[in-house]
Structure formats: structure tokens, C-alpha cells
Symmetry: C2
Subunit: 269 residues, 2 copies
């Protein structure tokens, strides 16, 4: 049995003192360097593999400082402060001594409290009533996901016409299906192509500069989602002077918000 492409990417080699060796995988290639979501998942994985880790992922910020070249890299995960409830990590990904990504993670111990939803899951047909998209953009990583677009599928660059909004709403899961866990969710938080492509129905060079994901579910709740598709929605806020931000929500199929994720994105022209 072959290893799942996500697990292949997450197989980091412990080098001691919070350092982990990894390598880029052709399965996760993007236009330039790897898919941002896989880098985020790998940085989170370094915390998860660290012997001092306490609690579960609560927040993850990854800054894409420079392109990651094909080949090996080293992640350093340093626990900066551990309290009774939270653990704060400082994250760095380097290639040949140069910093390619920085970031931080917060792990937390969840305890029973008053709980309530506020944002409501968008009303959509169930995943099995939405056809899986067969087209993929001409990069590799989208082949690692099953996309069932309810709204805002791949931009149609043949009929470039600016749209009034950039919303995308879809059912999504790993392809081949894989039980959900925090690194998988961290990667899925970045499956939305840059919202500027959708608004403009036009491709320009663009890339995530920084992404922050908040986790609202513990390992048990993620495991309960299993391999079923997540409902995922993303929209932009303001596009100006080469940058914009977009926010996303990822929902379990029974209507619980599993994660919210925000990113600021660079674009050209």
C-alpha cells in the first residue's frame, strides 16, 4: 500500500533540538515552489512531532518569506512559552541557512465551558448532490483534492469579465480521501485560489504572503468528520496596491465550524 501524498509530505525527520528535516514533494507543487497549504501543514506537524508538545492546535500563522526550491528543507519549532492552558511556538523553515517561511503556533488544552455557534453554515445542497469538478488548473497540488463547487469554481479566463464579488463555496476533501486531522485542515484552509483571480476572472502572478488559521475543533471532533467532504467558503475584503486579504471558513458536514482562516495575498498588475 502506498503512503498517502499528505502523509508523505508530513513525514519529517527529527534532527534533535526542535529541528526537523523535510523535502518538497512533486505531488504538492504550485506555480512557484510548493502549495502554501502543505508548508503550513508541515510547520504544524513539526510542533506535533516535538517531544515537548502540550495540547492541540489552536492558532497557526505562516508567513511566506521566500520561495521554497525543490529539495530538502529544515524546520525549526521552538517552544517559546508554555502555560497551564497554552503553548506558544516560534516556527522557521530554512533552505541552505536562508529563511523561506516564518510563523507561530499556539497549542491549547481545551476544557468544557459554555459553548455556542455564532456564524451559521451557508445553506447548500449536500456534497453527494454536487458534482465533483473534473477540470484542474495547470499546477499539480489541486489534484490532491476533490472539489465540488457550489459557487465560484475555477475562473474562466476565456471570458474575462470582472465579477462583483469573489466568493467561492465548495465541498472539498483530500484526494484520495483521508481521515481529517489538524495538519490536513491547515492545508485545506489554503485550497482557495487567490480571490483576485475570481474577481477579475483573470490570472496574474499572485501568492499568499501570510496565513492565519484558528482551529475550533479538537482531534476527536476532526476524527469524527472522517473522510467526508468539508464545506468551505472564502471571500475577499479589499484589493488595493498589490495586496488583498481573504477569509475562509471550513465546516463539518453536520454544521460545526472547524476552522476559520485569513490570509493576505500579493498580486501583480
Amino acid at each position: 500500500m502506498s503512503i498517502h501524498p499528505l502523509d508523505a509530505a508530513l513525514a519529517l525527520e527529527p534532527l534533535g533540538e526542535g529541528r526537523f528535516g523535510g523535502r518538497t514533494h512533486p505531488d504538492w507543487a504550485n506555480m512557484v515552489g510548493p502549495f502554501g497549504g502543505i508548508t503550513a501543514a508541515q510547520l504544524l506537524q513539526a510542533c506535533l512531532l516535538h517531544p515537548q508538545r502540550q495540547g492541540e492546535p489552536l492558532a497557526l500563522t505562516v508567513n511566506y518569506a521566500g520561495a521554497i526550491a525543490e529539495g530538502g528543507f529544515e524546520i525549526e519549532a521552538a517552544p517559546a512559552r508554555t502555560t497551564r492552558t497554552t503553548q506558544h511556538w516560534t516556527l522557521t523553515l530554512r533552505q541552505g541557512g536562508e529563511v523561506c517561511s516564518t510563523g507561530s503556533a499556539v497549542f491549547a488544552i481545551r476544557r468544557p465551558t459554555w459553548s455556542a455557534p455564532e456564524l451559521a453554515m451557508p445553506a447548500v445542497p449536500p456534497a453527494d448532490q454536487v458534482p465533483a469538478e473534473s477540470k484542474r488548473p495547470p499546477v499539480e497540488w489541486p489534484r490532491r483534492y476533490e472539489f465540488r463547487f457550489v459557487e465560484g469554481g475555477w475562473p474562466d479566463y476565456r471570458h474575462a469579465q470582472e465579477l462583483p464579488d469573489s466568493r467561492t463555496l465548495l465541498w472539498v476533501r483530500d484526494q484520495p480521501p483521508r481521515p481529517l486531522d489538524a495538519p490536513a485542515l491547515a492545508a485545506i484552509a489554503d485550497v482557495f485560489y487567490p480571490r483576485v483571480f475570481r474577481r477579475r476572472q483573470r490570472f496574474t502572478p499572485a501568492g499568499t504572503v501570510s496565513i492565519t488559521t484558528y482551529f475550533h475543533a479538537d482531534a476527536a471532533a476532526l476524527a469524527a468528520q472522517g473522510t467526508r467532504p468539508l464545506l468551505a467558503v472564502a471571500t475577499g475584503r479589499r484589493f488595493t496596491l498589490g495586496f488583498f486579504d481573504q477569509s475562509a471558513e471550513l465546516w463539518s458536514d453536520d454544521g460545526h465550524l472547524l476552522a476559520s482562516s485569513h490570509q493576505v495575498v500579493y498580486f501583480k498588475e
Copy 2:
């Protein structure tokens, strides 16, 4: 003429090698330690004062790892990677060698591109038609702001009754008024009391664990806002097992989104 309380807090002493000395100010005291917004502003200020700084603030993440005690602290701002367009910073605030806050900032050089709003500013009466709130909660930092609540003012703990949503909408500015700049905006991004207080109309111990703010305006656009109130709106997403996240937008009074900000918050009970 006395120095403005915000400028007093931002007066960091360069200690060389990206290290800056600061101290807590009683004007900015919160329940435990200083107001999170002032810590965020101070970390951003360290980048702004750094001799290698390039460009202007684009993204700022601050993780509140441990309480800051009254007295001196040291901020370390390390430029991790500088490219043609962006500069990535790793930030640490320490007291007596112990890490109290970690974070990262991205600075960027903005260039003319296609630009468009997407999110629309909420329709509200102008600031001068909304009365300034005279009440303040029993901590010091809210006295540094003028609050004109359109919706969702201070919780009324005398009539604790759970509300269906946690939205707050207000006009806000520094008190005394001060021309807007990036550190002021970084602080204002955190003026929303924890959304769980609003939902439950009940006070429980709570505190920001991590905040991320994206800046959509350059120094000139912020200066153009001057001392006029900003429109600020915040809502929660999901409250569960001791944590929730809330998102905020800060608008110029002529309807431009100046910043969006997200945070994950700890709460008890």
C-alpha cells in the same frame, strides 16, 4: 505640552542589534497586564524604528504568551528575510529573559495595481450624530479612546441575558485625538472587548491569545484620516471549549477599509 499617552507607550529605547527597551504605562493597564492593543502597537513600533526597515506594515501577528508585569520589557525585532516587495520580521517581547509575547510582521512596498473594494462599509449615522459613551469599564485603557457605540455597547451585567449575536459597531478614535498612523491602528484593532462578554452579557476571565491585523492603507492614507473617528465593527464566529475567534474591520470615515483584524480569545467557564 505633555506627550500623548500613545506616543509615551511607543517611545522605545534602541539598545542595538534590533533590541528595544520599553516599559508598561499605567495609562494602558488592563485587568491583568497592559491592553493587548498597546503591546501590538509596541511590537510594530520596534520594526518601524529598526534601521533596516523597508516598506510599510502589511500584516502583524501578536501572540500573548504570558502576562506582562508592571515595569520594563525588551522587544527584539529581527528581520528574517527581505525581498524586493516584502520584509518579514520575527518579534519577541521578554521580561527578565522570559518570553511574554511572540509575533511576526510583514512590511511591504505597495505599487499601483488594479484596485477594488469588496466588503461594503456598514450603513451608519455619521460619528457626530452618535453620542460619545461616558461610561467605561473598570480598567484604565478604555479611557484612552472615545467610543460612539452604534450597536453593542458595554455589556450590561445587571440584566444578564444571552444575546443571539455578539456584534459591536462603533465610531472610535484615540482620546485625546491623535492623527492616525499604523501603530495607532494596530492598537485600535483590539478595542473590542471579548465577544463572549457581549453574547452572554456576562463577565468571565478572558484574554486574547493571538491577534492578526492586515493593513490596507499606506501612511498617506492613514494620515488623511487625521483625528476623525474610524468606523469599527466586530463579531464572533464560534465559542467552544474555552476559546472563540472574533473578526473586526476598521473603516475610514469616507468608506475605505483601512484594516481587518482577527483574534482568538481564551475564556473561562
